[in-house]
């Protein structure tokens, strides 16, 4: 692995996005629009907006970066550029880390915009630090994009790749505690939710939203999300064979 090639890859992915202003507008605009919509939907129950608003600041980037990266990686596989890269002096980790870094940068911009709107305009309150929320949003985005890199190996077309979002992420959103406390779920589901990355994303954001203490549990959530990211990168590397049929 070489930092030079990793950073060149990250820069290349960002330049590709820059040539696609509509995708950037969607990445930045959709969470803004959705969060505003949720604020108005719960116009009569401001406490509900307070409860779900903060976790959503992390769930949005995880979901959008998952989608974008899985399609981007699928394109790399189907366009022949992946085969070309495999014949060049480049480690698989250079490619995967390059993607993760590029989408972390995009997520930082997205988080700044969406958090600014949430705290500045929509009146969302956090007890903890807004900077911690931003940091968690970026961490979630990186976890989401590395999971997207991995699952793209199982898609043969862009039609399939976009379907992995509802298959892979929607159940996690249902089970993470956002809609209902996990303790009240069917026991089996509660157990399953212990193994889903989104649960820890929700948990961490919820903690920062409701307390200013940096607790050991918060660090545990962060550690799990980092672990998921590393695991997804390792699994992604395993699904990138240099030799194909």
């Amino acid at each position: 692995m070489s930092p030079r090639v990793t950073m060149a890859t990250a820069r290349r992915v960002v330049i590709q996005l820059r040539h696609d202003p509509r995708t950037i507008a969607l990445l930045m605009g959709v969470p803004v629009l959705l969060l505003t919509l949720i604020k108005w939907t719960f116009d009569g129950q401001p406490q509900t907006f307070q409860r779900i608003g903060v976790p959503l600041l992390g769930i949005f980037p995880m979901t959008s970066m998952f989608l974008v990266t899985s399609v981007a990686m699928l394109r790399e596989r189907t366009s022949g550029t992946l085969e070309r890269l495999m014949t060049l002096p480049m480690a698989k980790l250079d490619l995967l880390a390059g993607y993760a870094i590029a989408f972390a940068a995009v997520a930082l911009a997205q988080a700044a915009l969406v958090s600014g709107l949430a705290f500045g305009v929509l009146g969302l309150d956090v007890v903890g630090s807004p900077w911690a929320i931003m940091g968690l949003a970026v961490l979630n985005a990186v976890a989401g994009s590395t999971m997207g890199l991995f699952v793209s190996a199982f898609a043969k077309s862009e039609f399939q790749a976009v379907q992995f979002m509802p298959v892979f992420l929607l159940p996690q959103i249902f089970l993470c505690g956002l809609f209902a406390p996990r303790a009240g779920m069917l026991r089996g589901l509660e157990l399953i939710s212990n193994f889903l990355p989104m649960t820890y994303a929700y948990d961490a954001l919820h903690r920062v939203g409701t307390t200013s203490d940096i607790t050991a549990q918060l660090w545990f959530d962060v550690a799990v999300l980092l672990g998921v990211t590393i695991l997804a990168i390792a699994a992604g590397a395993a699904t990138l064979p240099r030799r194909t049929d």
Partner: protein
């Protein structure tokens, strides 16, 4: 006599249930342009992919520049042009080449040089997706010419190109070979065969001839290589 640049023994590739190559043996000399000719589907691309180490191989040994095909150390010494252009459609010509140049450790001057070589001077700022099919193929070829490879494996590099540019590309290939590089160039166009130092004729996964163009003509008594090819195929069928 230096050893072969590429040495293949018993190469077998199976795709699905169909054997594409079965027990192929081949030695390709260094510092020469070897043409790989045969109808589409005869196994040319599979053979090339095996040489650059991206093809799943059932059996056999492929040695390239003294190392096992696909070894990490070969990646900077071997350049590969895929049959269909592999370029980023959402990057400009120059951005595409700059990205690949980082991996190959060459500078921006090399990028400008290959853009000129493939005649894309006026399209440096065009996006890959805005290029015509032939221009995309040229951008893909430019990437293969970017480093300082000792072996170039080029799958149909001149297909569909303008005759003037094709002439220039062949001159580039000859100057690379003159400087000591080995080139393996596939084509399904027989008229390109005479530009090669040596020819490999393939049909249905089998090498039916490997010789210089002159010797092939002499052996078959044919005036052109198309006829020589037909003579060889018929000779095998009656044998």
């Amino acid at each position: 006599m230096p050893g072969p640049a590429i040495s293949i023994r018993g190469l077998t590739v199976v795709r699905g249930k169909r054997p594409v190559l079965s027990g192929l043996d081949l030695d390709i000399p260094p510092g020469r342009i070897t043409g790989l000719l045969g109808p589409s589907g005869c196994g040319k691309s599979t053979l090339m992919r095996s040489i650059v180490g991206v093809q799943k191989v059932r059996d056999g040994e492929v040695m390239v520049l003294g190392q096992r095909a696909g070894s990490p150390a070969l990646r900077i010494r071997v350049a590969y042009l895929t049959q269909s252009p592999s370029v980023y459609l959402d990057l400009t010509v120059r951005e595409n080449l700059r990205y690949f140049s980082t991996m190959l450790r060459v500078d921006h001057a090399a990028v400008s040089r290959v853009i000129r070589l493939v005649g894309l001077d006026e399209h440096g700022q065009s996006l890959g997706g805005e290029l015509s099919g032939g221009q995309k193929a040229r951008l893909s070829l430019a990437t293969a010419l970017l480093g300082r490879p000792e072996l170039l494996v080029l799958d149909e590099p001149t297909v569909g190109q303008d005759p003037v540019l094709r002439e220039e590309l062949w001159a580039t290939f000859h100057s690379l070979a003159g400087a000591g590089a080995t080139l393996l160039v596939s084509s399904h166009v027989m008229e390109e065969a005479d530009r090669c130092d040596r020819l490999i004729l393939m049909r249905e996964g089998v090498v039916i001839a490997h010789d210089t163009p002159a010797e092939l003509r002499a052996r078959t008594g044919a005036n052109n290589l198309e006829d020589a090819f037909l003579t060889l195929v018929r000779a095998r069928e009656t044998a």
